[in-house]
Symmetry: C2
Subunit: 237 residues, 2 copies
């Protein structure tokens, strides 16, 4: 697919593909991005030729990109991770996790990031394809609503606490391997969702739940940038 | 003690004392500071008359100030916590956790904090009373070296991983209540330390280990402030 479409950027999660496959991606001229959740992973990615490293802090929603270690207790918050990855690597660093407004963007740049990756803030945009139960839970979520769980898919990911996470986890030792835990849940999930219940659905969400509802993604992006510039101007006064 | 010394500021960890005791502290004119590790705790502290709230992110070294919940899986990173506490309360917010240089200070201010609380960065100052084994581990630590453990004291606290944390935790269900877990360890710890081993010592450290060694605390403070101002000036360009 990459050789056919020749994208300018290819971003990986869960580490990198094997060296020969990665070479083929690089051969079409694509810049390689990948997520690091620890300092060790950032250095590993830089060694293997990543052009940009995404420092994914523990606040981030969805799957943790962790690939050198499965030890959740050593995962690092965005603030500490971004700062130290920036200092440790020569390539540009993109900050991810818990960034949801212009102040967050400005703070990430202050830490030395070259850019930000924002996911959760866009989940209530009209372009988003989240399910109705996911949308409802996102609207009600606060900073304290989420946890990292492996019971939804088999791999650690941050989402809003629901019945499945409370009763089986949020982390459990005996889950089916990724992504088969999700397959096992399909019928339970569908039955619950048809009854408007979110008990078994993955409700991915970072620790900064979306605040702005119904705003098109492009407008949200412009608003975040304008806010960040305003904060940066004020800080110099 | 407070009524005798009449300090201008009293800072609490693990919540607040009973209302009658808190009133006596307020009666001597002291401003009340206290740590919040969740949005819920921040709102609770504001309701009870705290003058300043310290938003203690998950990156922070030492004991977690958590008091409304013991659920570590819902603790929040500094980046996401500071931002949302600032928005939720009317009192000034001090950012804590993973802040170790001027860029971190500038980023905390960008998030809307009124100030920062920095601990780990000062642990290698000459004024610091850390033990020789603690000092040695701090000098070798990276962002990935720490975890939150309850096996050192009975309460969750972040420190550098050692034998005790690896073999018994880092989190365990059957630890003696705070602070008695530490009492149980005294002789093991003393024996190990007399042999220059850190196997059983609490090695408190945040996710941004100290980088500057041997610099007096006052000089470090001035350097952090100067760096932060420089970053803030650059950001406006």
């Amino acid at each position: 697919v990459v050789e056919e479409l020749r994208p300018r950027v290819v971003s990986f999660h869960f580490g990198l593909p094997a060296a020969d496959l990665l070479s083929r991606v690089q051969a079409v001229g694509a810049k390689i991005l990948a997520s690091a959740t620890t300092l060790e992973e950032a250095l590993w990615l830089e060694d293997r030729g990543c052009d940009v490293i995404i420092a994914q802090g523990l606040e981030a929603g969805g799957h943790r990109g962790m690939f050198l270690s499965s030890d959740l207790s050593r995962q690092i918050g965005t603030f500490a991770l971004v700062r130290q990855v920036v200092d440790a690597v020569r390539v540009p660093v993109v900050a991810a996790g818990g960034i949801g407004d212009g102040r967050g963007v400005a703070a990430a740049l202050a830490l030395g990031a070259a850019g930000v990756q924002i996911g959760t803030a866009y989940l209530l945009c009209p372009e988003s394809t989240v399910s109705p139960v996911h949308r409802r839970e996102l609207e009600a979520a606060t900073a304290d609503s989420t946890a990292v769980t492996n019971v939804q898919t088999g791999r650690p990911a941050r989402g809003i606490l629901n019945r499945l996470m409370r009763e089986q986890g949020p982390m459990a030792d005996d889950v089916p391997e990724f992504p088969f835990a999700a397959s096992v849940l399909v019928s339970l999930r569908q039955a619950a969702e048809s009854d408007s219940r979110s008990d078994f659905s993955p409700l991915w969400c970072g620790q900064y739940p979306p605040r702005r509802r119904g705003m098109p993604a492009a407008e949200l992006t412009r608003q975040l940038a304008a806010e960040a510039l305003e904060v940066m101007r004020e800080m110099a006064l």
